[in-house]
Symmetry: C2
Subunit: 262 residues, 2 copies
């Protein structure tokens, strides 16, 4: 019996006020314990541009320099996070907005410089998550809402991938709860035919996963999500659900839209 | 016996990295339960300017329009608040960064439009403060750090005076704790002679306050602070301490620098 929902919502929803409002209203109605992790969205890039801070990329990967970490701290940790909290409060969900620095919940390691210096980027491991404060909040009926930020324990905020934060929290909390980890993205789920948005594969276990790999059905976009999902399952998470924000919150545990991985 | 310290630090410290670091190191060493409330500082004005958002004033009072509330939500609730949290974590203080929207701790009323429309400004009353989550955090050894932001319960973040937030939290929590409320400002305390920075009056009770009023010793700058202080005392706060950030955290409860109001 699932007793904790951990939901990651991406920039495509954050950037769209209509989608976002619908999403938050559905999220607020999920009964029981839940955690939201949000991505950044394009607003950080827009505000960075307005402040004259150039987005830097190496091999297509964004570099978080000193100016950029300030922008994402402002935008993800302040503007986006606190607006989500205020909107959830209006929807009768007692949300609390956090970064990984708050109550030291998600200590991270600044990514070591090898071929590329990613700058102020934090890598997280599930075993580093400090669950005591998080569990106290959940038990008090409070819903944590995380911005994709962590810290190094030495005073520095770090930019961290929201998918990774979601998986790390899910794994760490699976010692105390039966966790369903939900990734909302722009598709309805894992598709048997990438050209057909309705060809959703409803259930993937390891056997089916191997078949799909053999048939080369899976696209480059979905492969890392499935790898992360199975890594979460292997580390104690009960279920992972991947699908569109419109669908995956409509069900609680009985009927399932999207792709359920278990 | 004081068992909760509530400390407000203003923009003059926030804006100065050297003063700020010294302040945070002292703050981190205060034993037991404590809460920090920070003002905004000039960085919001600077970032607003860079974003082309004009600061608007009516009769010398700042107006918080829609663009400005977004800037202060970013800067106060994100950049300043989360940097303070990361630095306090580095100083072994288990801080959690909050606004009044988080866990619905400080619901506020948007200031009614009369002669002036102040925009997205929230007025707070001590009886509106929701202390349950706050007490749970304090009891868990976590130190709340508040940005000067509240919310209207209908999804809107509101700009709120940090001194007022500090006093409201102090009064609300005085039902559960023996509270010392500390206002850090640029002077060493209430001065008998405004020209002499060392002429600090160490203790003011109601009798001395009346004498000082009769002697017209008090300047316009200090009067509202004293009125707020006595209002806090009248509503259950044990002590109010006013002084310089360098001094007022050096003592815990025995020796007192600055001006103690009781």
């Amino acid at each position: 019996m699932i007793d904790l929902f951990i939901i990651k919502v991406g920039g495509n929803v954050i950037d769209n006020p209509v989608l976002l409002q619908a999403f938050l209203e559905k999220f607020a109605t999920i009964p029981g314990k839940k955690i939201l992790i949000h991505g950044g969205g394009k607003i950080a890039t827009r505000i960075g541009d307005q402040l004259g801070i150039e987005s830097k990329y190496v091999d297509g990967r964004r570099i978080t320099d000193a100016a950029t970490i300030d922008v994402v701290t402002m935008v993800y940790g302040g503007l986006v996070n606190k607006q989500l909290v205020a909107k959830l409060q209006a929807a009768q969900c007692n949300a609390i907005g956090l970064t990984g620095a708050d109550a030291n919940i998600i200590p991270a390691t600044k990514r070591p410089v090898k071929e590329i210096d990613y700058g102020f980027v934090g890598d997280v491991k599930p075993e580093m998550v400090q669950t005591a404060a998080l569990k106290a909040l959940l038990e008090a009926g409070i819903t944590p809402v995380f911005a994709p930020l962590t810290h190094d324990g030495k005073g520095q905020i770090l930019n961290t991938n929201a998918d990774t934060i979601a998986a790390s929290l899910a794994i760490a909390l699976s010692a105390s709860y039966q966790v369903r980890l939900i990734y909302c993205f722009e598709k309805k789920g894992v598709l048997r035919d990438p050209q057909d948005d309705n060809a959703v594969i409803n259930l993937i276990n390891k056997e089916i996963y191997q078949q799909l790999l053999d048939e080369k059905v899976l696209t480059d976009g979905i492969l890392p999500k499935l790898q992360n999902a199975f890594s979460a399952i292997d580390n104690g998470v009960k279920e992972v659900l991947i699908g569109h924000a419109d669908d995956v919150l409509s069900n609680t545990t009985d009927k399932v839209a999207g792709t359920l991985i278990c």
